[in-house]
């Protein structure tokens, strides 16, 4: 198949960017979207032009490295699919495809389709963990966990931190991401001692990182390649509220000195 690509090119963090047109000819419908970009890049290289920079690694939808706006949709037209799992048979011969980086204030563009998602790591660092120093654990079966709770925790823990939820949100909110981690850990007995402190600190960090607020558009769950439900946001709000009302002053916003 033959396609026309309109790709966002930006040489560096401070520079102006713009859409550039490329012909992607002789593309096999069996290629993944990233393999199609590989082909285009190899041709650009042979013509002495700079290839399009994009993040990618595992190419099986689990590492969360890849992600781009494809015709204005985070990760493209297929549901529950990361960009690397999207195949060209989802497009038609002759299509024009517009490819842009994630658009969010908290994700500055580094180059072309590559953005800086370090803010997500900092949200985890603010409290997205259970303090269990190596060696301190009791026997793994000492605390039974109801299967339903373990399953719900796993649903939330499936997040790959690709950032599609932020890119899809009209407010650029990271609530789905943050809520997923708060839910994963808060649903397990092991996560209870730090539960409220965790919610306070993670939400505070999220606000610091210039993500927008959540107004329940629900675009995030549509874009999420792991189909994480916005229920996790309700859970986050509930824990945050409870924490804000009951937590002692020193527990807030401090960033975990353990």
């Amino acid at each position: 198949m033959n396609l026309t690509l309109r790709v966002w090119r930006q040489s560096g963090p401070g520079s102006d960017g713009g859409l550039q047109e490329y012909e992607a000819t002789d593309i096999s419908p069996d290629m993944s979207f990233l393999e199609m970009l590989d082909v285009v890049n190899e041709r650009l290289t042979e013509q002495g032009q700079l290839p399009i920079a994009f993040d990618h690694d595992c190419r099986e939808g689990i590492c969360g490295s890849c992600g781009m706006m494809i015709n204005g949709i985070a990760h493209g037209p297929s549901r529950a699919t990361a960009t690397c799992q999207l195949h060209m048979r989802s497009f038609k011969d002759g299509d024009t495809i517009v490819i842009e980086p994630w658009r969010a204030r908290a994700f500055p563009v580094i180059k072309d389709l590559v953005v800086n998602r370090g803010a997500l790591d900092r949200i985890i660092a603010a409290g997205g963990y259970i303090s269990a120093p190596t060696g301190s654990a009791q026997d793994a079966n000492a605390i039974p966990v109801p299967k339903q709770d373990a399953d719900s925790a796993m649903d939330a823990a499936a997040c790959i931190a690709c950032g599609a939820c932020v890119a899809a949100c009209p407010n650029g909110s990271a609530s789905l991401f943050t809520g997923a981690k708060i839910s994963h850990l808060g649903l397990l007995p092991q996560g209870q001692p730090e539960r409220y402190r965790r919610a306070l600190n993670m939400v505070a960090q999220m606000d610091l990182e210039s993500f927008g607020g959540c107004t329940l558009y629900g675009e995030c769950q549509e874009a999420c390649p792991k189909e994480i439900s916005i229920d996790v946001i309700s859970r986050m709000n509930l824990d945050f509220l409870r924490a804000a009302v009951t937590a002692p002053e020193e527990g807030r916003g401090g960033g975990g000195d353990g």
């Binding site: 040489s11 096999s28 069996d30 290629m31 993944s32 393999e35 590989d38 082909v39 190899e42 290289t45 042979e46 002495g48 700079l50 920079a53 690694d57 595992c58 190419r59 099986e60 689990i62 590492c63 490295s65 799992q85 195949h87 048979r89 580094i110 180059k111 590559v114 998602r117 370090g118 790591d121 985890i124 660092a125 603010a126 997205g128 963990y129 259970i130 303090s131 269990a132 120093p133 190596t134 060696g135 301190s136 654990a137 793994a140 079966n141 039974p144 966990v145 299967k147 373990a150 399953d151 925790a153 796993m154 823990a157 499936a158 931190a161 850990l185 397990l188 092991q190 975990g256 353990g258």
Partner: protein, 640 residues
């Protein structure tokens, strides 16, 4: 032999060695730990766990990864599970049994003491991960669930759906982020180690290129840990992530670290076959599918182009059931892989390029109904359909073996220290625990054992036992290593030839797969040893790396990795050629039993081949660490 290959295995009975060793090791006073800096390269299960734990102990840690976040390391892609000898199922498991299964699975080419320690520590790993909030699968009573895996007759595999690696890695990553917030770990994402700094014979730092600014700088420390994964991408196509590379261990090898058993490669039998020249990586289909799927190809070459439904039962060859009547479709990984290659070599393979065999669920669907099959394998069928656009409920899957894991790696002693004092190596990057073949669900176990429990102990002993003088930032060894990296980077950018990096990588991969893949022989390996140096010469003469060194340049990163693969590939072939026997993942067609099984030669080859760098343009020197079995009797593996 010029290298010191003393494995430093503690004396005493197997069961006592690790305990005794921990008592005998020197400790660093808690107040002094912060005065020591430890560099950890890689943030997967081994690196992430080591960095977090060393920081918890009080060391000053610096951790590096090439990805944009430490959470993206390739450990994340592991599907199946993690083994531990918990014996929660009361089905006869024990530390001794896990130890024996691992040694046997490795075809008697691993060190007894290391493997026994691994089996011991497996218990602590599960405890640790549960405490961190890893959402393992559970039974209705709330206790942990287990499943069975290849090479074992007990149920000892813990799992979190098909995403066990992801969940274990997130546990380590979250512990790491906790330590980053505390200030104990300084994290360097998008940073690639390009050389090792060795001062007075000791590893004292690394040279790092910042991928965003292109800045090449030395980073100094008191000890260095490499936890940078395996080198399966030397084959170009593998189940590894695209960025997986051997550069860190290869640079260390060229600074004096011995490379052990480079030819031991694991080929996984059930992957989605290559669809065309554009293929950029291969996707694994869980081995569990062979519980209900039947593997077959047409009996006659002429039928391979027909749709599978048009081939009557009588014209099908269920070759695994025919050759291995007792194990059938569940024959072990290496045997299933080689059998698939054989029928495809005979021209009976199916699908594009004739490199595929059918994995057919029709009988199971007839017997159990589509719903039961969906319940068992629904997510895998969906993943298959997403990639191939074929519905495996209606037409048989097509599968083919693919490179999955490398058992070889940098040589380490019992303390996980390489032949360069101060340089420790963990996880897939070292060679230590899997011998010539790794059992399923054991990679996660080893990575976490090394990172959480072994290194944090042994590094303390190294630091407490040695007087380490400060290294000046302008020491000649530091400046020399930086200048070497700068020169190499400019050289890559300066060739300005005509061929792309990817085209060289693909060509190298084809050579490796053809001659150093599932089955190897002297003629093929000798041929590869002629082709690879020519290809390497062409690479340095005709490669094109667009752009510059001073900003994000993904082609430049790739070029450096391919240049190293070009050297490593040659060493793999040389190792495969010298090992005149078959064992585990290393199958030499000249050495097989009359019925086609791997034939070991214990009297001549019961050793670790540790290759020593001899300088540019000179072949590496072979050193041998004899494998001494005091507790296990060597036997011919039989799965018939």
């Amino acid at each position: 032999m010029t290298l010191d290959l003393n494995a430093r295995i503690p004396s005493g009975s197997l069961a006592e060695k690790w305990d005794k060793h921990r008592f005998e090791m020197k400790l660093v006073n808690p107040a002094n730990k912060r005065k020591y800096t430890v560099i950890v390269v890689g943030s997967g299960l081994a690196g992430g766990a080591a960095a977090a734990t060393l920081s918890e102990l009080g060391y000053n840690v610096r951790c590096y990864c090439y990805q944009d976040s430490p959470r993206r390391a390739q450990s994340i892609a592991a599907q199946g599970g993690i083994n531990a000898a918990k014996n929660y199922q009361n089905d006869g498991d024990s530390i001794q049994r896990l130890f024996y299964d691992t040694i046997k699975g490795g075809d008697f080419r691993a060190r007894e003491a290391n493997v026994y320690r691994l089996a011991q520590i497996s218990l602590n790993i599960i405890d640790q991960c549960v405490a961190q909030g890893v959402p393992f699968a559970r039974e209705y009573g709330g206790l942990l669930a287990n499943r069975s895996f290849g090479g074992a007759q007990v149920s000892r595999t813990f799992y979190a759906r098909g995403q066990t690696g992801q969940q274990l890695l997130l546990g380590a990553y979250q512990a790491l982020e906790k330590e980053i917030a505390k200030g104990g770990v300084k994290m360097f994402p998008r940073s690639e180690m390009l050389d090792l700094i060795v001062v007075n014979g000791r590893a004292r730092g690394i040279v790092v290129r910042d991928e965003l600014t292109g800045k090449i700088e030395p980073h100094l420390a008191d000890a260095v840990v490499l936890a940078t994964g395996g080198y399966g991408n030397v084959f170009y196509l593998s189940t590894n992530a695209k960025g997986c590379n051997a550069t860190a261990i290869w640079r260390a090898h060229k600074r004096g670290a011995a490379f052990a058993n480079p030819c031991y490669t694991q080929i996984h039998p059930t992957c989605i076959p290559v669809a065309g020249e554009h293929q950029s990586k291969l996707t694994l289909m869980s081995e569990s599918l062979r519980n209900d799927g039947r593997v077959w190809v047409p009996k006659r070459k002429e039928d391979t182009a027909k749709p599978p439904g048009a081939i009557p039962e009588a014209d099908r060859d269920y070759y695994l059931e025919r050759k291995y009547p007792s194990f059938g479709n569940l024959s072990p990984r290496d045997i299933a892989s080689r059998a698939a290659k054989e029928v495809c070599d005979e021209g009976r393979g199916v699908g594009p390029g004739g490199r595929g065999v059918y994995l057919d669920f029709a009988d199971a669907i007839k017997r159990l109904g589509e719903d039961r099959i969906r319940e068992r394998y629904g997510n895998l069928f969906e993943m298959y359909e997403r990639i191939t656009a074929e519905n495996p409920y209606k037409v048989p899957m097509r599968i083919y073996p693919a490179v999955h894991y490398t058992m070889g790696g940098l040589w380490v002693d019992y303390n996980l220290m390489s032949t360069i004092p101060g340089l420790h190596v963990a996880g897939e990057a070292n060679f230590s625990d899997h011998g010539a073949n790794r059992l399923g669900a054991s990679a996660l176990m080893q990575g976490l054992a090394d990172g959480y429990f072994v290194l944090p102990n042994t590094i303390g002993d190294y630091l407490a036992s040695n007087k380490l003088e400060p290294v000046a930032a302008n020491a000649p060894e530091v400046l020399g290593a930086v200048s070497d990296v700068e020169k190499r980077t400019s050289r890559l950018l300066g060739v300005k030839g005509k061929r792309t990096v990817a085209s060289f990588h693909r060509e190298l991969g084809k050579v490796m797969w053809e001659y150093c893949g599932m089955a190897r022989d002297a003629a093929g390996l000798t041929k590869a040893l002629e082709i690879i140096p020519q290809l390497r010469e062409e690479f340095w003469r005709d490669v094109t790396v667009p752009g510059e060194g001073a900003d994000l340049n993904q082609t430049l990163e790739h070029a450096g990795r391919v240049a190293d693969f070009m050297e490593l590939g040659e060493l793999m072939c040389r190792d495969a050629l010298h090992r005149e026997e078959s064992c585990g993942g290393h199958f030499r067609t000249e050495h097989q039993t009359p019925d086609g099984e791997a034939l070991r030669h214990d009297e001549t080859f019961a050793y670790v081949a540790a290759w020593e760098w001899a300088g540019e343009g000179r072949p590496q020197i072979l050193n041998k660490e004899p494998l001494v079995y005091e507790n296990i009797k060597l036997s011919q593996r039989s799965y018939k």
